[in-house]
């Protein structure tokens, strides 16, 4: 393995581990404050930290290995029940994840800055110090369980702890024995696990030392049942499982009701609650003894739901503030992935492979036809043969289309990948800003091209930060305005045809458009005359102008607009478009409209003044034939009347300074993205074709209205129009002429 290849591999695997860590942390955060965190989840976190440590050690990534060691140690104590999962622990783990991501980012660039090294050291120390004192010593409950010492000998420390917990909570324990065929035991075992999981906790899976013959294998599952013996038996009907209850001696001096020795009796209420999982009835609020110790970040608002509340940054303020003197306490780590790999569902790959198989078959048929022709010479080229050839060609075409679609799908990833990362960030931003935020995510399953998803994280982070910093009011102000104490920030994705719309909205104070106008006037972005004629919508859109506000100065009107031009540009590069809606006192919403993929698109091929261009079909709404006299001029710009709506009209020839030909009628391609529409005049329509857009290099890159070039197959290279830019160009013209 070469150095760079090894590094890339390390980064790829570490990224996967950190992603898994992030997902599990988020899930734990949702049950924050309740005492029923899923033990499997906590164990998953531990395993992730453990793997990361081993991985970093192998690749000589000392800093990551050291911090992972700290995290593993903390999570080990957590999963072994030596530590309680309180707010301080959860917050520290989230911060540790951030630090890991920064460390990995540096590692991928081959850097090692002192600031980050210090931060990682501080973080490791903090993790080591965390923790409430261990539970008072008691008799080991495991001593009461009658279990073959040989079985106990193969438990890991963790499995032993889970077993102990189950005994302590008086859950009835069973040995579930099942024999399978060696060839497909994993399937059988998976089915059995699926049956068992809703009924309790699978503590251990032991392959039996006495397999049933050469081709058989048996397993003993140690199972903590949340249901009584009858329910367990009926739940396993139809599986090869046999049940044996593990006897537990009653606690010495225990109340008679707490006896769990009777196998058929329903579990006591205590046992039911103790082992309760996600779907079980919620545990009662934590009692005094389980409340977090004073000084470790007490909740700011007693009585409010504990999820993502802003905690006064008592312990975390010091290390954060020392990092940087600026307004942002810490450099924001980019949420972009460090790796270029896409994980593809195996089912999708199988589908592609099958398709290739079918294509090979068709190729063989075509070859056979060609061979026949060659041998039979001129006489045999009959109609029948022509029909056969046409049929095979059609088959080939259909399969190729399917193959193309399948390959495109393989590039798709759920936007949830980015959403999850953002959710973790929200908590820190809210804490730093002293806001109380409920963050809601929906539509994470909507899929987009991996490249687009990657590029989305920074713009979305920007918008969410704005929503928290400037949209959401402080709790007191919200209460005074008659709103709920906690502000709601929502991130939502939705597929609409060939596009995906992602919205970032808040129920905060909204944007004051008169303030926007004043700032735009003060910065000389518009003239007073222009401003006077602008609608509310147009005024709001001024926040996207470059120079509306600068990065280092927070603008005075509720702070909106910090670098929004950058966001808009980023989206433009993805052929996307951004829209804003806002109402004073009610909130603000940004809508991002994006194409599903950039890889292969269907395009309309058009001709203008003897040149050929491609227009992405996903933004084409309709095509009209228009006579020259249908074009009218309003305020010195050309418009069309489209069913009562005024449609801006753009002559492509004029935009690209081509000689215009006199024509009897124009073809008008009506394009639209989000709310914006425009008619583009062309001379000829050549039809539709799939294109792969290649970026332009050199000076051509900055030509407005062109997103790239494509090869039409007959070695003709044509330019691809950038509809988002053209729409903007149209609006800019409007503004200049107004």
């Amino acid at each position: 393995m070469t150095g760079t290849k090894a590094l890339a591999e390390f980064v790829a695997e570490a990224t996967e581990i950190l992603d898994a860590l992030g997902r599990d942390l988020l899930a734990l955060d949702e049950v924050r404050g309740r005492d029923d965190a899923d033990p499997e989840r906590v164990n998953g976190l531990f395993r992730a930290a453990h793997s990361l440590k081993g991985l970093a050690g192998l690749f000589g990534q000392e800093r990551i290995a050291r911090l992972a060691n700290g995290a593993e140690d903390l999570l080990d104590r957590l999963r072994l029940g030596r530590l309680r999962l309180d707010d301080a622990v959860l917050d520290s783990l989230v911060d540790a994840l951030d630090t890991f991501q920064s460390l990995l980012a540096e590692a991928s660039r081959g850097e090692e800055t002192d600031g980050l090294s210090r931060r990682a050291e501080d973080m490791a120390t903090r993790l080591a110090r965390l923790g409430s004192p261990p539970r008072a010593a008691e008799e080991d409950p495991l001593e009461r369980l009658e279990l073959d010492p040989q079985v106990r000998a193969v438990f890991t420390e963790y499995e032993e702890h889970r077993l102990r917990e189950n005994v302590r909570r008086e859950v009835s324990l069973w040995r579930v024995r099942a024999a399978f065929d060696l060839s497909d035991f994993d399937q059988g075992l998976a089915d059995l696990n699926a049956r068992l999981k809703p009924l309790g906790e699978i503590i251990s899976t032991l392959p039996s030392a006495r397999p049933g013959g050469v081709n058989g294998i048996a397993f003993d599952l140690i199972f903590g049942a949340q249901v009584n013996g009858d329910a367990l038996t009926s739940g396993l009907l139809g599986t090869p499982a046999e049940l044996f209850q593990l006897p537990v001696r009653p606690v010495v001096g225990a109340m008679p009701v707490a006896t769990a020795a009777s196998p058929e009796g329903a579990p006591s209420p205590k046992a039911r609650r103790g082992g309760g999982r996600k779907k079980a009835a919620r545990a009662p609020p934590p009692s005094e003894e389980t409340a977090p110790p004073a000084g470790e970040g007490a909740p700011s608002a007693p009585g409010v739901p504990p999820r993502m509340r802003a905690v006064p940054a008592v312990e975390s303020a010091a290390p954060l503030a020392s990092d940087a003197g600026g307004a942002r306490p810490e450099a924001e780590p980019s949420l972009r992935s460090l790796t270029q790999t896409v994980r593809v569902d195996i089912g999708r790959l199988d589908g592609l492979i099958n398709m290739v198989g079918e294509l090979l078959l068709i190729k063989a048929n075509l070859q056979r036809l060609a061979e026949t022709t060659r041998q039979d010479g001129a006489i045999a080229v009959s109609k029948l043969f022509g029909q056969e050839l046409a049929r095979e060609t059609r088959q080939l075409e259909r399969k190729l289309e399917a193959l193309q679609e399948g390959l495109l799908e393989a590039r798709m990833v759920p936007v949830g990948q980015v959403f999850d990362k953002l959710a973790r960030l929200v908590r820190r931003i809210a804490r730093d800003a002293g806001k109380e935020i409920d963050f809601a995510i929906s539509g994470g399953e909507v899929e987009l091209d991996k490249l687009i998803v990657e590029e989305l994280s920074d713009p979305l982070m920007h918008l969410i930060r704005n929503a928290i910093d400037h949209g959401a009011e402080p709790p007191e102000a919200r209460l005074a305005a008659g709103k709920s104490r906690r502000a709601v920030v929502q991130l939502h994705a939705e597929q609409k045809g060939n596009h995906v719309v992602i919205s970032v909205s808040d129920d905060g104070s909204g944007i004051d458009e008169t303030g926007v106008r004043d700032v735009a006037l003060a910065r000389r972005l518009v003239t007073p005359a222009q401003a006077a004629e602008m609608s509310r919508r147009e005024l709001l859109n001024l926040i996207f102008l470059p120079g509306f506000s600068t990065r280092d100065r927070v603008s005075e009107l509720s702070g909106r607009g910090v670098g929004l031009d950058v966001v808009k540009n980023n989206l433009g590069n993805l052929s996307g478009i951004i829209d804003v809606w806002s109402e004073r006192g009610r909130g603000t919403a940004f809508h991002l409209t994006l194409p599903v993929t950039l890889a292969i698109i269907r395009a309309l091929v058009v001709g203008v003044s003897g040149r050929t261009y491609a227009v992405p079909l996903n933004s084409v709404l309709e095509i009209l034939a228009v006579r020259p006299e249908d074009i009218s001029t309003v305020e010195r710009r050309e418009v069309l009347d489209l069913r009562g709506q005024t449609l801006p009209f753009l002559r492509l020839a004029r935009l690209f300074h081509l000689p215009e030909r006199p024509v009897g009628r124009h073809f008008v391609v009506v394009v639209g993205l989000a709310q914006q529409r425009m008619g583009i005049a062309v001379d000829e329509l050549h039809g539709q074709q799939d294109i792969v857009t290649k970026p332009l290099g050199g000076r051509l890159r900055s030509v407005r209205g062109i997103s790239g070039a494509t090869d039409l197959g007959n070695r003709r290279t044509v330019l691809v129009l950038d509809v988002a830019e053209l729409l903007e160009e149209g609006i800019a013209q409007e503004r200049r002429r107004a």
């Binding site: 440590k53 140690d73 193969v154 060696l182 035991f185 899976t205 392959p207 050469v214």
Partner: protein, 124 residues
């Protein structure tokens, strides 16, 4: 190839690192898997000369695999190394008690693994 070594480790990077180290020794072929279940299926299909397994894995744990191997007359004589991480003494002790021959503590160095391999495969 004269010798076959089974590597059971769920971390891809570790697995590949170990496989590369093992295959650097002449006449040794590494067969690796990320899961204990897969290991159970591989056992009857090959004649392994050595097994290297991690302890913490998602399906069955390494201790269970050791127990299975050591209790099965077909495999019980195959030497078995466990891979553990610093700080997991209890798991390590159990693995040794169940019959593991050696343990490797992550992060380990290629040289020591190679030395152990040669010793157990009786290579010069």
């Amino acid at each position: 190839m004269r010798f076959k070594v089974l590597i059971v480790e769920d971390s891809k990077a570790s697995r590949e690192f170990i496989a590369a180290t093992v295959e650097a020794v002449d006449e040794v072929e590494a067969i690796s898997t990320s899961s204990g279940f897969e290991a159970l299926k591989l056992l009857p299909r090959h004649r392994f000369d050595l097994i290297i397994t991690d302890i913490n894995m998602p399906d069955i744990n390494g201790l269970e695999l050791i127990n299975f191997v050591k209790k099965n007359p077909n495999y019980r004589d195959v030497p078995l190394f466990i891979i553990t991480t610093e700080g997991r003494e209890q798991d390590r002790e159990r693995g040794m008690a169940l019959g593991a021959a050696e343990y490797l503590v992550k992060p380990f160095v290629a040289g020591s693994l190679e030395g152990l391999l040669r010793r157990y495969l009786k290579l010069p």
